[in-house]
């Protein structure tokens, strides 16, 4: 076990896969000579050379499209979007070319798009967005969003080995958040499995990414007041781990869903609907969502603090639900 940051864990997983499998290569803007805007691929060019660490033009359609073409040929491309926000320039390639490819051809498309996403980095409206729901809504794509360094490595390895296009949402605020234990060597977090990171009978708190850490902090606050909660880290957003969600809610009878993406049309609505359809008889209170405001992500620190769910708001919601 090594003590790694989330960022180092991504690098560790990526480098391990590139050493293991010569089909794996990385392509993106500023990732070679410069080592990437966040230095994930620092040192890769020297180790793997210019045909496996490709400094690409400033062109998301071309870069994602080229990744698709290489995947068609049996390579295992990992395309870095410098910021997840820029994927809008590649939307056709992701949603139409990649997502529908297997359904039309029955051939695999082993493509990973690395999507540095999320706020609390003073990034403003074009460097902070959480657009995972767009892709979870698109049949044919898998969507993962690790919260911990261990899963940042394990899910990246799983995504690279998966025969489908996988949108790998890596949260920028978590890159250097803290050091955590990460298994050495070959390590896989299975796609499609949530993980219970804290157990309690009062409320099911369901989240992922940066908000998951706020949920854990809120759960610690309420635990000190005698309210013990389940905290479920979804880890994969498509396909959702329905069984894990329903098992927890059937136990607690209360569900709080927290995400950083805007409320309307977010993953939370889908989870709330799942609970209403499948666990209605177990509910002892309303299904509650906490999400960012239905607004673009603001740049100003105070505005962004007001925009996102806070630990205090999450703890309040837990207490209100527990009181039912």
């Amino acid at each position: 076990m090594a003590q790694l940051t989330y960022l180092e864990a991504i690098r560790d997983g990526l480098r391990a896969e590139m050493r293991r499998d010569p089909r794996v290569f990385v392509l993106g803007e500023d990732i070679g000579v410069y080592g990437g805007a966040f230095k994930i691929t620092d040192g890769f060019l020297d180790e793997f050379g210019p045909w496996r660490v490709i400094d690409a033009p400033l062109a998301e359609t071309a870069n994602v499209g080229a990744g698709i073409g290489a995947a068609v040929m049996g390579m295992r491309p990992v395309v870095e979007l410098q910021f997840a926000d820029f994927v809008t320039d590649a939307f056709t390639q992701v949603v139409n070319m990649a997502a529908k490819y297997h359904w039309r051809t029955r051939a695999p498309l082993p493509l990973v798009l690395r999507m540095p996403y999320g706020g609390d980095i003073k990034g403003g409206p074009f460097h902070s967005q959480c657009m995972e729901a767009w892709f979870a809504h698109t049949p044919g794509l898998k969507v993962v969003a690790p919260a911990f360094a261990e899963d940042a490595k394990g899910l990246l390895v799983a995504a690279i080995r998966d025969p489908n296009p996988v949108m790998y949402f890596e949260h920028k605020h978590l890159y250097r958040f803290r050091r955590e234990e990460v298994p050495d060597g070959d390590y896989v977090t299975p796609i499609g499995r949530a993980r219970l990171v804290r157990e309690g009978a009062a409320v099911s708190v369901i989240s992922y990414g940066w908000m998951l850490h706020k949920c854990v902090e809120a759960a610690e606050l309420t635990a000190a007041q005698g309210i013990e909660t389940d905290v479920l880290d979804l880890r994969t957003l498509a396909p959702l781990d329905r069984d894990a969600i329903l098992e927890s809610v059937r136990k607690t009878g209360k569900a709080l869903i927290v995400h950083e993406a805007s409320r309307t049309g977010g993953i939370g609505g889908e989870i709330a609907a799942l609970i209403a359809e499948e666990a209605f008889d177990s509910l002892d209170g309303p299904v509650v969502r906490l999400a960012s405001e239905d607004a673009p992500v603001p740049h100003n620190t105070a505005l962004e603090a007001a925009f996102q769910p806070t630990v205090a708001e999450i703890a309040d919601a837990i207490r209100r639900l527990a009181a039912y």
Binding site: F25, W51, R52, I54, A56, P57, A59, T61, A62, N63, V64, G65, A66, G67, I68, G69, A70, A71, V72, M73, G74, M75, P77, D89, T92, Q93, N96, M97, K100, Y101, H102, W103, R104, T105, R106, A107, P108, L109, P139, G140, K142, D162, P163, N164
Partner: protein
């Protein structure tokens, strides 16, 4: 040419894209490089495309083809001439006017009709329709409806070939409308930057649905765009199969030598509607008349007769063979089952 109907007042400069009806191929060495049996093979595939599409048109008007139906009528020389320049391991990223290219690279006539009829035997098994098909196992990328979107993917296929040290090339087709898209620009630029083995064949048929050339570009000619990407560009008569073949062969050779992509502008005319639902009333009759005498199949047939390559006997045998293949293919497709509705949500994801 009735320019006034093509360029509204205040629109882009008129007449920049005037295309003269060309002469027969000047590319004599292109013809000279091919043995008589190869020349007859080119004619065969051009006729086969026309025959399959002609049968498709009849099926469409009988209401037997669901949805839209597209032909490459008049584009056969481009599809056949360019595809004939490929070697056995090369790759194809075609579009909707290139039926012969699919067939030359291994899709059977039966599969084509099954695709048209939305049957399980089509390459997309009823999941996608009309000519939206391909088969990666046979090196054919299935295109999507978004024109230009195949170009970056073709570049990526070529990238994989370069990464693995393979000498394969990728041939891709697109229309004049596609050149206006960002995807086309990004894909051509990407291929050029990395000197990738991509053959970029522009089927300039003068209309993107109802939109004429002067609403696609202010450039004097599409082939001029090649210079902007730092790649060679050549314009050929798209109705002359040997001219297309010659230009494509040169481009394939350059690509294999690692020189990079070539843009080939094949100038032709879309002599039918965008789809069969479109009567193309917006196309000036004079323009259609001008091209009516330049049918690529009739021109090549005459040339092969003049050169003593095509005899009456061979002609009859070829026509009979094609007619039989069309009927056999259609029968095969009709015997192919409809997709099972219970499978609709299956196969969205590949299994491990």
């Amino acid at each position: 040419m009735a320019k006034s109907t093509r360029t509204p007042a205040g629109g882009p400069a008129a007449g920049q894209h005037e295309i003269k009806a060309g002469r027969p191929s000047q590319n004599e060495e292109g013809a000279g490089r091919l043995a008589p049996e190869r020349l007859l093979e080119l004619l065969y595939y051009m006729r086969l495309q026309r025959a399959v599409e002609d049968r498709g048109v009849k099926l469409y008007y009988q209401g037997r083809i669901p949805g839209a139906y597209f032909t490459g009528w008049g584009h056969e020389a481009i599809a056949v001439g360019a595809t004939a320049s490929l070697g056995p391991d090369d790759l194809l990223a075609p579009m909707h006017r290139d039926l012969a290219a699919y067939i030359m690279r291994g899709i059977t006539v039966g599969e084509v009709f099954a695709q048209f009829l939305d049957r399980e035997g089509g390459p997309t098994r009823g999941r996608d329709g009309n000519i939206h098909m391909g088969d990666p196992r046979r090196g054919i990328l299935p295109f999507i409806s978004h024109m230009g979107a195949s170009v970056p993917v073709a570049a990526g296929m070529a990238l994989a070939c370069r990464q693995r040290g393979e000498s394969r090339v990728v041939l891709t087709f697109f229309g004049d409308g596609a050149t206006s898209t960002g995807a086309w620009h990004e894909g051509v630029n990407f291929a050029a930057v990395f000197r990738l083995p991509v053959i970029l064949v522009l089927e300039n048929n003068q209309y993107a649905y109802s939109t004429p050339l002067d609403r696609q570009t202010a450039a004097r000619s599409f082939v001029d765009k090649a210079a902007g990407y730092g790649i060679p560009g050549v314009a050929v008569d798209g109705n002359d199969v040997l001219a297309v073949y010659g230009a494509a062969k040169d481009a394939v050779d350059r690509a294999r030598d690692g020189v990079g992509p070539t843009l080939i502008e094949c100038r032709t005319m879309r002599v039918r509607g965008h789809s069969e639902a479109d009567k193309s009333s917006y196309v000036p009759k004079a323009l259609l008349d001008e091209w009516a005498g330049r049918d690529p199949i009739a021109m090549f047939e005459q040339r092969l007769r003049d050169d003593g390559v095509l005899s009456d006997r061979e002609d009859d045998a070829m026509r009979a063979r094609i007619a039989q293949e069309v009927e056999d293919g259609l029968a095969w497709a009709e015997a192919s089952p409809e997709p099972d509705p219970s499978t609709v949500a299956q196969g969205v994801y590949a299994e491990e």
